[in-house]
């Protein structure tokens, strides 16, 4: 409102003024400010895996953690460390339906970064998949680089002109630092926008950013509690009254997602003791029997059905879930 009042007092409104009015939609990157961490806050692996929501590492041996070392106006950054002799890279895949309008366009990527130790070079790659939203293989469409990313928080920007028609099948924005020493970097404030200018980072409300992330990954656990935790809160349940207990078939909960998924998601089910592929058979007065069998059926982009074929004599089924529709 303050900005609107400021603009109203001025005789001339510039193009820059209009560009900087928050719309919530100019940034093609989701979770560019690293504010959403549904899977955890510390990761260590080889190859590819998701860290902060929507951000997938593409490197060899690496660790990824949430850091509070940030530039002004940000809460978190992604700390990526690649091992000696390993390349470190990570990126975000943008689904095809959000790339159709980019053909022939100029886009600008901007982000804040800080080199903590190791290599100083940085490459920014744009890649496209071999088929629409199918990333089993991909190809580069453009690469830019800088030789020294800087040891203090610095905003960098890269402009890419005349994107090819293949960008309509999807786009990977990838950050790469070269093979050599053990290298530690921190990144936040990613923004990809149409045009040749890096405008100020647009801070979307937390609930808006979380909902956008849930199109790709959703869990039944509360914020800050991760899959496989020993917790009841958020567990989906069916039945559980003190009649009709059975050791055989029990219908489980029909799970409806809070946000419809990009595509039919992969499901993992958990009991409330942290066991994956399991459920709780429960009943009023008898309590929970953990580590019971569970099966998912009828998975769709909006939800699924579950059942427990056999187990302890109870009348209800409880289960946690994750739904993964990432690219």
């Amino acid at each position: 409102m303050t900005r609107a009042v400021d603009l109203a007092k001025r005789a001339v409104i510039t193009t820059e003024d209009l560009t900087n009015i928050p719309s919530g939609a100019k940034n093609l990157i989701i979770n560019g400010d690293m504010s959403i961490w549904q899977r955890g806050t510390s990761f260590s692996a080889t190859g590819t895996d998701y860290t902060a929501d929507r951000w997938q590492t593409q490197g060899q041996v690496w660790t990824g953690t949430r850091s509070t070392d940030v530039p002004d106006d940000f809460q978190y950054s992604l700390d990526i460390t690649s091992g000696s002799g390993s390349y470190g890279s990570f990126g975000q895949k943008i689904e095809a339906v959000n790339c159709k309008h980019l053909v022939g366009k100029t886009v600008t990527l901007s982000f804040y970064s800080k080199a903590v130790s190791g290599e100083t070079n940085c490459y920014v790659l744009l890649k496209v998949p071999s088929a629409e939203d199918n990333w089993t293989s991909s190809s580069n469409i453009s690469t830019q680089s800088i030789s020294d990313i800087g040891s203090t928080w610095t905003k960098h920007s890269f402009t890419f002109t005349n994107l090819p028609s293949s960008v309509a099948t999807g786009l990977l924005v990838m950050i790469f630092h070269g093979i050599g020493q053990t290298t530690q970097r921190r990144y936040t404030g990613f923004q990809l926008e149409v045009g040749d200018t890096a405008t100020p980072f647009e801070h979307r409300p937390y609930d808006m950013e979380l909902a956008r992330c849930k199109r790709y990954y959703e869990k039944s656990y509360p914020i800050g509690t991760f899959a496989g935790s020993t917790v009841v809160a958020g567990r989906r349940q069916m039945g559980g009254s003190n009649v009709s207990a059975t050791t055989s078939f029990l219908s489980g909960p029909i799970i409806t997602f809070e946000v419809e998924k990009r595509t039919t998601p992969t499901i993992v089910l958990y009991d409330s003791a942290g066991n994956s592929g399991k459920c709780v058979r429960y009943q009023l007065g008898l309590g929970d029997s953990q580590n019971e069998n569970i099966t998912a059926l009828d998975i769709g982009s909006t939800g699924l059905y579950t059942y427990s074929a056999s187990g302890a004599s109870r009348s209800g089924v409880g289960v946690h879930f994750t739904a993964d529709a990432e690219l």
């Binding site: 199918n134 089993t136 990009r262 595509t263 998601p265 992969t266 993992v268 089910l269 059926l297 998975i299």
Partner: protein
């Protein structure tokens, strides 16, 4: 590593495959990344376990 699952009527469910190493229920849709990995695994000559 992968196992077929059955519908409630005992017939094979062709819409889901289970990855037993980490208990993933994977839908058989082409733009699911885990299904894409399963297709690569099949192409290498591997065969999933039958449902119980």
């Amino acid at each position: 590593m992968y196992k077929k699952i059955n519908n409630l009527d005992g017939t094979e469910d062709t819409t889901i495959i289970k990855r037993t190493t980490d208990n993933l229920f994977i839908p058989t849709v082409e733009d699911n990344r885990h299904y894409q990995e399963y297709l690569e695994w099949l192409a290498e000559g591997n065969i999933p376990e039958e449902a119980e």
